[in-house]
Point group: C2
Chain length 338, copies 2
């Protein structure tokens, strides 16, 4: 095990820790600094009711567990761990390492980065979860090797990350990439952000489920109500994708509408950014070609041909650990390792 002997000398393997902080769970893991291996992925409930100090304690405790497990598995020593990348819901002040506001955790201007760094005695970086997800796909996922990447993560909301000239782009004060809140229909659906016609109001997970319920209210037959035991409130985007794959016509219609909305948003991004790759990650990857084919067709209809010709539109490749991988990738990039 010479290559993991713990020496700081050239050629020794080094490790970076990643923290994916969510309102429900904290996921932590370690990766080799070249992205080559993942170790000791662990998840525990966040327990926001403990307050910021309590959550930091849980993060640091889990990091120590992962460090110990990685050392046991690889023969690494503590000095082989370079630092910790932290992915957190935004908005953030990345330079100061602050979480400015998190509705799910109830924090305000909390110095998360420095508190974690002090707890585990390693340098740390902080970036928002959507940026992390995009950089993870660029580092070892579906956008490997590209210089210009748009990442779109579809879940409860729609988050985005931009990689321009091979680097995460943050804008003037870390707001850049709020792709979910670009207007596609200025007089359209009300969005949770207070605006009208945002992409998120049409194509987030809850918006997809809501449009399915609206369609069902028209009285058309569908297998979806049976899939959720008759309680249509339980329909999720996954229900819609599953029904569409089984040939359910109404679900298929909702998926094609989703593709049209997403295609409009993606076409805008092609005309503005001219990326080589657009990666769509999150639950949407389950929808498969039923969604991706009409989405690509809508983009071809709406965007400039040279921008369409150069761009791949693909589902994300990273599995459940995407958040941790992305957090590790942001640390690696900020330290010139990725």
């Amino acid at each position: 095990m010479a290559s993991a002997s713990g020496s700081a000398a050239g050629g020794a393997r080094r490790y970076i820790l990643g923290v994916d902080l969510g309102g429900t769970n904290i996921v932590v893991g370690a990766m080799r600094s070249d992205g080559g291996e993942q170790h000791a992925m662990r998840s525990i409930p966040t327990r926001p009711e403990l307050g910021a100090d309590g959550v930091v304690e849980r993060i640091v405790g889990l990091l120590e567990e992962v460090i110990a497990a990685t050392m046991a598995a690889t023969g690494a020593t503590r000095s082989d761990f370079l630092g910790v990348g932290i992915g957190s819901p935004g908005p953030l002040d990345r330079e100061k390492g602050l979480v400015i506001v998190t509705p799910n955790l109830g924090w305000k201007d909390f110095p998360l980065r420095d508190r974690v760094a002090a707890g585990v005695r390693l340098p740390a970086t902080l970036d928002n979860d959507a940026n992390c997800a995009t950089l993870g796909e660029w580092w070892i996922g579906a956008a490997r090797g590209a210089q210009q990447v748009v990442g779109i993560t579809i879940g409860t909301g729609i988050g985005g990350g931009l990689i321009l000239n091979g680097k995460l782009y943050h804008g003037a004060n870390d707001v850049a990439g709020e792709i979910g809140h670009a207007t596609i229909d200025s007089t359209g659906r009300r969005c949770g952000c207070g605006n009208y016609g945002c992409l998120e109001a049409y194509a987030s997970g809850p918006a997809i489920a809501e449009r399915a319920r609206e369609a069902l209210a028209g009285g058309e037959t569908s297998i979806m109500p049976a899939m959720v035991g008759g309680d249509v409130a339980k329909i999720t985007a996954a229900t819609v994708y599953g029904a569409a794959k089984q040939g359910d016509e109404l679900a298929g219609h909702v998926v094609r509408d989703t593709a049209r909305f997403l295609g409009t948003g993606v076409a805008n991004l092609l005309n503005i950014f001219n990326p080589e790759v657009v990666v769509l990650a999150g639950g949407v990857t389950q929808a498969g070609d039923e969604l991706f084919e009409p989405l690509r067709a809508e983009v071809r209809r709406r965007a400039f041909k040279p921008a369409v010709d150069i761009c791949r539109i693909v589902p994300g490749e990273l599995e459940g650990n995407a958040g941790v991988v992305g957090a590790v990738a942001t640390f690696a990039q900020q330290h010139g390792l990725a």
Copy 2:
């Protein structure tokens, strides 16, 4: 005149030539390489009917005239001219220096950059006119000193340029910045590009005039018909701005609608790019606060507060020579001088 003695030694003044190629006119001028002075701005008709070779001859002839006039005015010698920046309608292949297509000139894959460089025996660069306009405003205009800039030029069409981290951003194959063809209303007005609901279909010069004519067709009173001698086909965006400034209610309504459309587009750009400055250039700068105030209000309603708080939305400062200044700026930036 020691400082312009023509020596190539340190401290001597150097000059960059700029070419603004349009379908109607060719404008050429010289600037000091630090952006400090403009010399010998000259304009001649393009005369596209002469073909690409004929137009290149006219460009080179005008460059020689400007070089001679600048030498006479400053005491510079030929070796004090570093090169030529060329701004041209797109789409372009910037790396190869090709004009891929220009509907106005009828060219296809024409090696404009190298033909001009050979004609005038100086290195040359090529970039599209909207990028040039944005970089000019960044170099010596309304966006001086900013790292993240969105430039929007409103004329017959709506062009855009992006400066990210202090550099013009071109995307994967030079399409980036097509802000006029971002959708703000996916089922809205038909755009000349074939798509529906593009910003350009609402807020370009001709679209503003068209909306004014539509409003007049409703029979409301307005001073606009009298301003164009009764021929409403002659109404332009400038007519609308002028009437609004004189208190014409219908024109004021058209300007406020324009502000709302532009505000939607600009808000999207704030949420996606998070720029420090948005510069609106072209005829729109004549509209003044009648347009800019409601435009800023619409952006405040639609974009995230931190992105709004950090961003100035301002009219361009460069006058009629903006195209030449921008072309000089692109040469300067590509040669590490800006």
